[in-house]
């Protein structure tokens, strides 16, 4: 409720309107978002598969982390910047989009998983660096990461579809609740 007026105002700012109405700018930012997604998601998946012991079993986990994590972080930074611009172009509709919301929740959970892995599991890596199949805690983190990032990508792709959008009524009450939508009574 608090955010709604803020995003309404944001949608009226000249830059937001400009981005929204410029087909070229929006498409180029969207393409950069997909391109950096490949960089981030591709390498994150490979790291998760290594943690699960499903690929590159002879590569030390620490070497993978040391040499490829910077690329993953770079991909993530470009994703966040391009993603913020995409949101800024269509703030109100995105905020009330059910897939955008599920994406943000999954993103938060994926971030939490990354934090737990790097603060609890990874510090002991020297004990299992060369294990073909890392210990259970690392495998669980890898599997969770894989599932959560797939969820983020799929939710993100679905934001484009307006099946549950606020301006498409009637919707079930649960959908309107989940999207903070209050349809006008006279419709």
């Amino acid at each position: 409720m608090l955010f709604l007026p803020f995003f309404e105002q944001l949608a009226d700012t000249p830059w937001s309107v400009g981005l929204h109405e410029s087909e070229i700018a929006y498409s180029v930012i969207e393409s950069i978002h997909v391109w950096s997604l490949c960089l981030f998601f591709g390498l994150a998946v490979m790291f998760d598969l290594r943690l699960l012991g499903w690929t590159m079993r002879k590569v030390p986990v620490s070497e993978f982390s040391h040499r490829l994590l910077p690329w993953t972080v770079a991909g993530f930074v470009i994703l966040v910047i391009s993603g913020t611009l995409l949101f800024y172009a269509i703030p109100l509709r995105s905020y009330q989009n059910i897939f955008f919301r599920s994406k943000m929740i999954l993103l938060l959970l994926a971030g939490l998983n990354v934090w737990i892995f790097h603060s609890r599991v990874y510090p002991g890596v020297t004990k299992w660096d060369l294990d073909a199949v890392p210990p259970r805690a690392a495998r669980v983190a890898g599997a969770l990461s894989l599932a959560l990032w797939i969820g983020v990508v799929v939710s993100g792709r679905m934001i484009a579809y307006n099946w549950f959008d606020c301006d498409r009524q009637p919707q079930p009450a649960i959908i309107n609740f989940l999207t903070s939508c209050e349809p006008a009574e006279d419709h």
Binding site: E23, S27, E30, S31, V34, W35, L37, C38, L39, F41, G42, L43, A44, V45, M46, L49, T55, M56, R57, K58, V59, E63, F64, R67, L68, W71, I150, V153, V154, R157, M158, A160, Y161, W163
Partner: protein
């Protein structure tokens, strides 16, 4: 000879019609298509960043390439299995889409390049003796895969 009749035939196919008339089919298949591409990108990046000297530099290229090969093939297979139905559902749009032809040309070239030139170069150990050659093959591969990604995204904008 024009390919248009073939594209029209694809458009009329049972699978194409089913996907086109369904609300959910296209988006769901499209999501798998994107995941397949992400997996492919991961396998491709591990090898190419290594060849560029900015990845897993302590690992032998041939060994890395062999280790990620099942995932590369898995990713490409998922892309094809999901991409063909997507194509059937909007083949006429694709025929007139410049982005579609950029994507298909890049895809054809990159698959050919990866499984012939680059593979042979890695197998023969050419990339370890001549790092510049390895870097060149990596840049060609990454450039062509970027063409696939951009083309794929832009089909949706036309």
């Amino acid at each position: 000879m024009s390919l248009l009749p073939f594209f029209q035939w694809c458009y009329q196919s049972g699978l194409g019609v089913t996907i086109r008339t369904s609300t959910w089919a296209f988006p769901v298949i499209e999501a798998f298509h994107l995941l397949g591409f992400g997996l492919t990108a991961g396998a491709v990046l591990v090898v190419n960043l290594r060849l560029l000297g900015v990845g897993l530099s302590r690992q032998p290229v041939a060994q890395l390439s062999a280790a990620v090969k099942p995932w590369l093939i898995g990713g490409v297979t998922l892309m094809f299995i999901s991409g063909i139905p997507l194509f059937l559902s909007e083949s006429i749009k694709c025929y007139y889409s410049f982005a579609f032809w950029v994507k298909m040309t890049s895809l054809f070239l990159v698959l050919l390049f990866t499984f012939t030139v680059q593979r042979q170069a890695i197998k023969a150990g050419l990339t370890s003796n001549r790092p510049l050659l390895g870097r060149l093959t990596a840049l060609i591969s990454l450039g062509l895969w970027s063409g696939v990604a951009w083309g794929g995204r832009w089909i949706g904008f036309s």
